[in-house]
């Protein structure tokens, strides 16, 4: 009699999800799936709207990384305007994009995953959260809060609003940077850079305690995709797409975003509202690739800021050769990226023309189609729009970071379930490991469903026709019922 374990909702991730683990008669894991349960239909609901509204509208896909959507959307709109935006505008967009990378990574690492790393995957589920972290490791909690606050504050200084700022617009940004705001950002940088450096030291030893997880947390061969700049270095705003395989062989580089459709396909999974992206030349499912911090550091050959470059060199040592394959190292990659972002913001703020008031290009819709790509905290994000001659939206296709990772996340859930879930003994810590691997990807499910309720953990005994024969329930206190 095959049985099914359902984890619903998956918590401490950003979105609505459910995991089902299918057991065979012997109680061994036969299959595991990660279901996204929300769908809002942004690709349709934007139809008929003026394209100038798209950046702010698409920002509402996600409250965690609205700036990524603002940036990718504005870049698609720039392509429709057929303009090259002023250099200062591009630099300011870079700063706000990096500020968001900082706050989002801080949220993922300190608020959502650190409770697992510091309190332990076997610890009490009632206190295994950011509030428990505040009690047990107040310093770490404070550091996380401060880092996220810095990122959010930079966003607010530039965009006048922490979440969903309307400042990134087609053709550039809506107002230049004021000198006093620039001074305020520069003044805060040394302190927050210190926090990240401290965290990197502290967690190096913590990561060492998770050897088993490193081997089993989604450690499998896959392709990796991300933007790189002209020098092949780490890049989040402009650049071309690069795809490498698990050995580090370059399959394709220099892909201009406008030609994405030749390389990226999207498959519908009947059991999820999230489509699975795959690398078209290889096909489905072998064209599975990963995006995000781990993938970006895997595809990049250099990092242009000094402190992050040192960490990058250490990261590259994690595997004897080739890309880092374990999804557990997303956490480490995230910290390195925070450090990079802080250094990069410093560089950008020191550009000679950063205070220029030339920050916006105006034009009519000169092209009827536009594609914009940016690296969101969670990975490559793509907006593709078609408009009519008056600039009203006719079509949108959005490929979201988490959709890029969908196949890999499902593979990881299966791998962890096989290793840790034993159908005969159901332990909360095991199941939390299954959730924790999802947390490593930091999926932004509100994004991916551009399209979290709670039920107890249920194990259902299902007959082949799907009728539930028996059910075990574990309530929120961890008690078995």
């Amino acid at each position: 009699m095959a049985r099914q374990i359902t984890i619903d909702p998956v918590t401490r991730i950003e979105g609505h999800a459910r995991i089902t683990i299918q057991l065979d008669d012997a109680g061994a894991v036969q299959d595991a799936k990660f279901h996204i349960t929300q769908f809002r239909g942004f690709e349709k609901l934007c139809e008929g709207r003026p394209f100038h509204e798209m950046p702010s509208l698409m920002a509402r896909i996600c409250g965690i990384c609205p700036v990524s959507h603002l940036v990718a959307s504005a870049k698609a709109c720039d392509a429709i305007l057929a303009v090259q935006i002023p250099h200062t505008a591009a630099s300011l967009r870079r700063i706000i994009n990096l500020a968001q990378l900082i706050q989002s990574h801080a949220l993922s690492f300190f608020y959502l995953s650190a409770p697992d790393l510091l309190l332990g995957l076997e610890s009490d589920p009632v206190t295994r959260n950011v509030f428990g972290l505040m009690r047990e490791h107040p310093e770490v909690a404070r550091d996380g809060i401060r880092l996220r606050q810095f990122g959010q504050h930079v966003i607010e200084l530039l965009g006048n609003k922490r979440i969903h700022p309307a400042w990134v617009v087609p053709g550039g940004v809506s107002e230049p940077l004021a000198p006093e705001k620039r001074a305020e950002m520069l003044a805060a940088l040394p302190e927050v850079t210190g926090i990240v450096e401290k965290a990197l030291e502290q967690f190096r030893t913590v990561f060492d305690q998770f050897r088993e997880e490193v081997q089993t947390f989604g450690r499998f061969p896959s392709l990796f995709m991300g933007l790189v700049n002209d020098d092949g270095g780490l890049e989040h705003y402009e650049g071309k797409l690069k795809v490498v395989d698990d050995k580090g062989t370059v399959l394709e580089e220099g892909i201009p975003p406008a030609r994405y459709a030749e390389y990226i396909g999207e498959s519908v999974e009947p059991w999820s509202y999230l489509k699975s992206a795959y690398y078209l030349p290889i096909g489905y499912p072998d064209g599975m690739y990963r995006v995000g911090p781990l993938a970006r550091l895997n595809v990049a050959t250099s990092v242009s800021t000094p402190k992050a470059a040192q960490e990058f060199a250490a990261f590259k040592q994690l595997e004897a050769s080739g890309p880092v394959l374990s999804s557990f190292h997303y956490h480490y990659a995230r910290l390195i990226e925070i450090l990079y972002a802080l250094e990069k913001i410093d560089q950008l703020l020191n550009e000679p023309d950063i205070l220029s008031d030339r920050v916006r290009a105006h034009a009519a819709p000169n092209n009827l189609t536009g594609v914009g790509v940016a690296e969101a905290p969670r990975g490559t994000l793509l907006h593709h729009y078609k408009v009519d001659k008056n600039g009203l939206m006719e079509f949108a296709n959005l490929i979201i970071a988490t959709g890029n990772n969908n196949l890999a996340m499902n593979r990881s859930v299966f791998q962890v379930a096989q290793h840790y879930v034993d159908g005969e003994k159901l332990q909360e810590g095991m199941l939390n490991r299954v959730e924790a691997v999802i947390r490593a990807y930091d999926p932004c499910l509100s994004c991916s469903t551009h399209a979290i309720g709670k039920m107890p953990l249920r194990i259902q005994l299902k007959a082949p026709d799907g009728t539930v024969l028996d059910e075990l329930v574990r309530d929120s206190d961890g008690k078995r019922g």
């Binding site: 100038h52 702010s56 309307a166």
Partner: protein, 240 residues
């Protein structure tokens, strides 16, 4: 020939003794005396039509509520401009406007600069008690400089009046009835094909919401210049 001076009338508004010329409306007098009465379709410089009903007031001795913008003062009138009953009606009117259109404030070009949004806040409306209609409404972006978004239109007809009374083009009008009523340009042609429109932009500056805005404006960027019309009329020397 000299115009005889207008006679003076005395009345009370919310218990306050006020004086007015006989040709003034209750709204005029209230404003002169710093008494706020909410309005939406009314705009100084355009004719008053009493369409939105937000300025309804109670007049002693009458069971009917009177729109303050088109009701002339009378000697000894006792006007109540603020009561629980009026507050409730005004709230309902604004809520119905929200329920009828598709006012997605968060992603609107006039977010933060919109009369309807401001009224909702001023009248302490924190949610809409009527079921939203979510009707299918279109956007006309065919004009080179301006956009018409029917989703945000509250049918106040300020655009119709300013185009007729001030610009003299009468490009704008209304067609249809009830929830199907909508503003049109010429004979319901796309605005960009209108032969009467002078592209002066007066309609855009008087529109209270994000229904009329300039091409290329992103969310929150459309600020309406309400001071333009009174200034223009003053310069023309025929202030109404």
């Amino acid at each position: 020939m000299t115009v005889p001076p207008a006679r003076i009338r005395t009345l009370t508004i919310d218990g306050k003794d006020v004086g007015a010329r006989e040709d003034e409306t209750i709204l005029d007098v209230a404003r002169e005396n710093g008494i706020w009465i909410p309005t939406l379709c009314q705009m100084t410089g355009l004719s008053n039509i009493g369409a939105c009903r937000l300025c309804l007031v109670e007049v002693a001795g009458s069971t009917k509520l009177q729109p303050a913008c088109v009701t002339r003062v009378e000697e000894g009138m006792q006007v109540t401009a603020h009561s629980d009953r009026l507050a409730e009606y005004r709230k309902m009117i604004v809520e119905l406007l929200f329920a009828e259109g598709n006012h997605i404030c968060s992603v609107c070009v006039t977010n933060g600069h919109c009369d309807l949004q401001w009224l909702a806040q001023r009248l302490e409306i924190d949610h809409i008690r009527f079921p939203y209609l979510y009707g299918k409404r279109s956007v006309d972006a065919s004009h080179e400089r301006f956009v018409l978004d029917h989703n945000r239109c509250v049918l106040c007809t300020r655009c119709v009046r300013v185009c007729d009374e001030v610009e003299g083009a009468h490009t704008w009008d209304i067609m249809g009835r009830g929830t199907n009523a909508r503003v049109i340009t010429d004979l319901a042609q796309p605005w960009g094909e209108s032969t009467s429109c002078t592209s002066c932009g007066k309609c855009v500056s008087v529109c209270p919401t994000g229904a009329l805005f300039e091409q290329g404006k992103a969310v929150t960027e459309m600020v309406k210049h309400r001071e333009l019309l009174p200034m223009l009329l003053t310069m023309r020397g025929r202030q109404r």
